[in-house]
Point group: C2
Chain length 693, copies 2
């Protein structure tokens, strides 16, 4: 039952004396305070199971004046400080949503959510389920039929149950079973995905008991064979001890002898990053992982907020229980809580700065998350070049980029997520998919059109990875519009007598909705501000979006997949800004029904022209597995670009110092090349590319 | 007149004692020999103007057995050694094509080409035209009407004339005029593109005289104003002396303390490159620049030959003379002869190896081209990663790439062209467009839908960059096929009751023709060999092509642009292999009419299934200029990928040594992060990512 409690709690005192930025994630103290406030609103000894304790971001209407004052060095107006909490009464299905005011200690909201609204998974629960499944007598009996060798270690991968409308109101897990290499069962990192078993227990999280044991189809159709002795195939290990490693790779070090060019000002739980005219704030939370706020270039405002909004991975096998495989890795798990600790030199190269975070645990305590974001520069090749062929003089600069990277492990898969900035005013969001394919057992000789056999007895089913990036622009102000440009051939006419002419036409998006790229028309979306004009050509300042093409959600429109992954059917969604509309798949994705995400918001058909709107940019991969993706897949890379259009008065990277040998210190590999002409061309100031006169 | 001369010439002796590889470009001696053989076929003192002297590649039927023997260490069969020559009788329009046998000294072919077949441009001629245009009395008189300040330096950019069927049979140049900053006329590298003039002389190359002076439209339509006093606007310089350079960029060095991991074996004019199981031969010629031959991975054959085939850049302004702007930068100029000398540290970063080349000049002599290709490694982020969440153990490798890069300057524009290889058996062709927009004068206040004003008085017209990469596969043998996979939703049925299923269907391409990507179906083209099967899943070995989408040629189908740029209307062209069909736009592109390139070859409708075929992969940019592209544009990047599909038996990068701090030597930027847990996790062998037990 819900309780509107007027409980007060001492105002949290922060470790640092700096005032907490309104957008900074909750500190350890605040996390604990928030949980304590909620606990206090229940009878003592009520066992609460916390699923999320996170900042309830203040309304934009409060934050904008704060940011204004912050940038102008004026006194900072007060901004509310609130926490959002999701929790269960442990061992019940009573799932609550609460908001507390951290300044006053008041509970502002504390409601029991509807019966079919479920919380995300979490590590505690998953570990417990792994164990209970393998301890279950029914499961053990079924496993026994496999007649596995003595000492075999069976591994359980609990999966979010998914939705299909078939007795799926309760919160459950569908566990997939695998085993370690039976000849090496003590190898804790044996690749169990190479040895999938045809038994799949279902667990109810309310009772934490196995409620059903599914058997998996392993042929070409829905036929389920009774569990029979398991045919053991070879293992397929990825850990280096099992490889004959290459011995001819020489080290490559990135060295910054004068340090890196960026500055990080840590302010409690958020940090302000300054680099090459870019300036923005970085936060980190349980669900979204990295979030960027107040992104500016040369003190000109570009974005209010940037974050990955969710991702959905539906699978192509229509047979039970696989038809339910459709993971929402942010909503079901959380990009923050799943973030890797990035070890020095292993994940990031060069001069590295790490950011830590604090998240909440299931008991209302705090989990320190170290090294969840790494920050570094990288060289990205030539930035621009021109050689005047008459003089031979080349002007060339290299492109230096700033990278903020986080890596999440969601069971078998990894995603490497990065915001990348360059010196030409452009920003990029890069996604790399790697890790291990989700596998299922298959009979020998079976070939199906919805998956690939990647190892004897192992089927990797086709699946789509669909990502949604939430972009809340503030392009030189709050009144922005979204337009798209298209290029069309001119018809033949007196004006175009040779049939070679073409022109660009702009279309303004007036109404919220889903929109698509169209490469046949070179359709390019731009965020624009009509109030600010380019001083050279009078065009409104803009940033264009280069979103890669992808095949939209293949599940049909009546399917749960389609209804739930509301972002998956368009390249672009644009909606009028409303506080608290952050997650394109809806706030609660676990076993959801849809209707609470971006498609629903867009269906309000509100005006988005010359106002405050949010763009969701989608990108995706239809992953048709190949042998080379197993046992671990080489990174598949997606990039979404944001580039200035008539925002500056010239190439903003024109003032990058020229690329010079004295600066770059490249080394010549070949002795044969004495290159006297090059040496003659190194000027007295150490610059090169100056022709000898 | 043609002359079949039985001239003999002493067999050329190479500087090195190694026998000349049949695919190696002509050596300096061979170049000179070839020219001498042709000269000898004419009366003495006939002034021949050489436009091209290059290897006439031997028939594939001769080369394949040679390569087979070469790789098996057997005795090498003899292969013909022939040169291809294009030349004029100087100061005439008599353009010839010849082939000579360098072993025997015989002239095999020496024909006068048709009246409307013209040679590419070259540096000598362009420099001469620049001068003669500015010396022409008629041009001077017209310039005088501009009333430019005393001492103004006018610059002439000669452009290939183009085709429009209007008195365009003779070989001509359309020269565009600009001026240096009149306040700084002695600055030889002043950006003259910021000050375009409305006068455009036309030169006949037969007479080397100005035959016409065009005036340029500067308004919104075809109206030509009489030349009037020029309104001088500010300059827009790109050289660093004119910038207030950033001072906060710290050096970033790429250091390979043990040297690079690749080996280069120079064998005369070609080199064999070995790196991380890749092995291939590199050549370089006048037209194509870099060419890769005999590309293998782990001694398994992948490609016979790889090269950029041509590029076409048609412009959107339909008005005379701009409707003719449609450059074929390889056919009209040459990616080899236009290649930059890549200075140490300026263009390439790290441990660099340079390749030189020798090309021919207009007199039958030799031009040394130094440092035209740079070879180096680069780090490309994480190659693959997986963390077992139960143990916390991460297995991660970094992706190391090998880059072969060449940069061409084609008047105002630059293209950075690179073949990039990685450790997962994948290859990439990367194109970066940079340099300076082609500009034309525009009146104040004019806004046109076919261009952007990028500076006061300067219009940069929209244009398409369309590239064609020629891919001659030899995937584990010569019988290959081209297929495409598409993914389709299953209909609802008993098999697919929830509407979530989807499947992949393969279509075999039987006939030569043009084909397109279709992202709505995830259409993916693959080169496949049905004779070689994957040992795990029995699928035929394949490599898939990831070609980016682009808007096809907008000029209409009746236009010269469309007829000439035969590759510009499809993402993929596939044709049955024939010797000597290298250039997708035809062998002679200057003022061409079309009909001799890939579209014509494809129209032969030959079988391309399970045989020897060639694929032309197109990629492009519809360049709608923005202010940020001026005065020099930040690189715009295109990539075409080739990735193995069921070619290997697992991830081919699995044996890359794990990423380790002792190897990578990253530096921690922040002192706050003592990271005791990381140090505890560095194993005795220097490896990290090993959990402390």
């Amino acid at each position: 039952m819900s309780a509107e409690t007027v409980a007060t709690f001492p105002t949290a005192r922060l470790a640092k004396s700096v005032a907490t930025h309104p957008l900074a994630p909750l500190s350890a103290t605040e996390l604990a305070s928030a949980a304590a406030i909620i606990k206090a609103s229940w009878p003592a000894h009520t066992d609460l199971y916390f699923k999320a304790v996170t900042l309830e971001e203040p309304p934009k209407s409060e934050v904008l004046p704060y940011l204004e004052a912050e940038h102008n060095g004026q006194s900072l107006p007060p901004v509310s400080r609130r926490a959002f909490i999701n929790y269960y009464i442990r061992n019940t299905s009573k799932f609550h949503e609460a908001i507390v005011d951290l300044n006053t200690g008041r509970v502002l909201r504390n409601v029991l959510l509807g019966a079919s609204v479920h919380a995300n998974g979490d590590g505690e629960e998953i570990v417990a389920i792994e164990k209970l499944v393998l301890d279950d007598p029914g499961v053990k009996a079924e496993i026994a039929k496999l007649q596995l060798p003595e000492g075999t270690v069976v591994i359980s991968d609990p999966w979010i149950y998914g939705s299909d409308g078939v007795q799926d109101e309760d919160r459950m897990y569908q566990c997939f079973l695998y085993m370690r290499d039976p000849l090496n069962p003590s190898e804790a990192d044996s690749n169990h995905y190479a040895l999938p078993l045809p038994i799949s227990p279902v667990v109810s999280t309310e009772t934490m008991k196995v409620i059903r044991i599914d058997l998996l189809p392993t042929g070409v159709d829905h036929t389920i064979k009774p569990t029979e002795p398991y045919k053991i195939r070879p293992p397929n290990e990825y850990i280096p001890e099992h490889q004959t490693l290459r011995t001819d790779l020489k080290p490559l070090n990135v060295v910054q002898p004068e340090g890196a060019s960026f500055q990080v000002a840590q302010e409690g739980t958020s940090s302000v990053l300054s680099w090459q005219k870019w300036k923005f704030r970085v936060g980190f939370n349980q669900r979204e992982g990295m979030v960027l706020y107040d992104v500016r270039y040369d003190n000109r405002s570009l974005f209010y907020r940037l974050s990955l909004s969710d991702m959905n991975i539906p699978y192509a096998d229509p047979r039970h229980p696989y038809h339910k495989k459709s993971a929402f890795d942010l909503g079901d798990a959380g990009a923050g809580i799943m973030a890797n600790n990035l070890k020095l030199g292993c994940d990031c190269l060069g001069s590295i700065y790490y950011l830590d975070a604090v998240l909440s645990d299931d008991k209302g305590g705090v989990i320190p998350m170290d090294n969840v974001v790494c920050i570094h520069e990288q060289d990205a090749g030539i930035g621009w070049k021109h050689t005047n062929y008459r003089t031979g003089r080349a002007a060339v600069v290299r492109s230096r980029e700033l990278v903020l990277q986080s890596i999440i492990t969601v069971s078998n898969y990894e995603y490497i997520l990065a915001f990348i900035f360059n010196q030409a005013g452009a920003m990029e969001y890069e996604i790399r998919a790697t890790g291990i394919l989700s596998t299922q057992p298959v009979d020998d000789g079976v070939d199906v059109p919805f998956g690939t056999v990647v190892h004897p007895g192992v089927l990797a089913v086709h699946h789509q990875h669909i990502f949604s990036l939430r972009v809340d622009p503030f392009l030189e102000g709050g009144d922005n519009r979204l337009v798209y440009d298209e290029a069309f051939a001119m018809p033949r006419s007196d004006f175009n007598p040779h049939g070679t002419g073409y022109f660009v036409k702009e279309t303004v998006i007036e109404e919220s909705g889903g929109y698509d790229t169209d490469y046949e028309a070179n359709r390019t979306f731009k965020i624009q501000n009509m109030n600010v004009r380019n001083p050279i050509n009078g065009k409104p300042v803009a940033y264009k979006i280069q979103a890669p093409p992808f095949q939209k959600m293949l599940s049909d429109k009546d399917s749960f997949n389609y209804k739930r992954a509301e972002f998956s059917d368009h390249n672009i969604y644009v909606v009028k800004y409303r506080d608290d509309e952050l997650y394109a798949g809806g706030k609660y994705t676990n076993q959801s029904r849809g209707g609470t995400g971006v498609r629903a918001w867009a269906d309000r058909k509100e005006n988005v022209k010359d106002t405050d709107f949010v763009v969701f940019v989608q990108a995706g991969i239809n992953h048709i597995p190949r042998i080379e993706d197993f046992p671990v897949m080489p990174c598949e890379i997606l990039k979404i670009h944001f580039k200035p259009v008539n925002f500056f008065d010239k190439n903003p990277a024109l003032d990058v110092p020229p690329s010079e040998q004295s600066f770059n210190k490249s080394v010549l590999m070949s002795e044969q090349h004495h290159q006297p002409t090059v040496e003659a061309m190194i000027g007295q100031d150490g610059s090169c590319c100056v022709p000898k006169l």
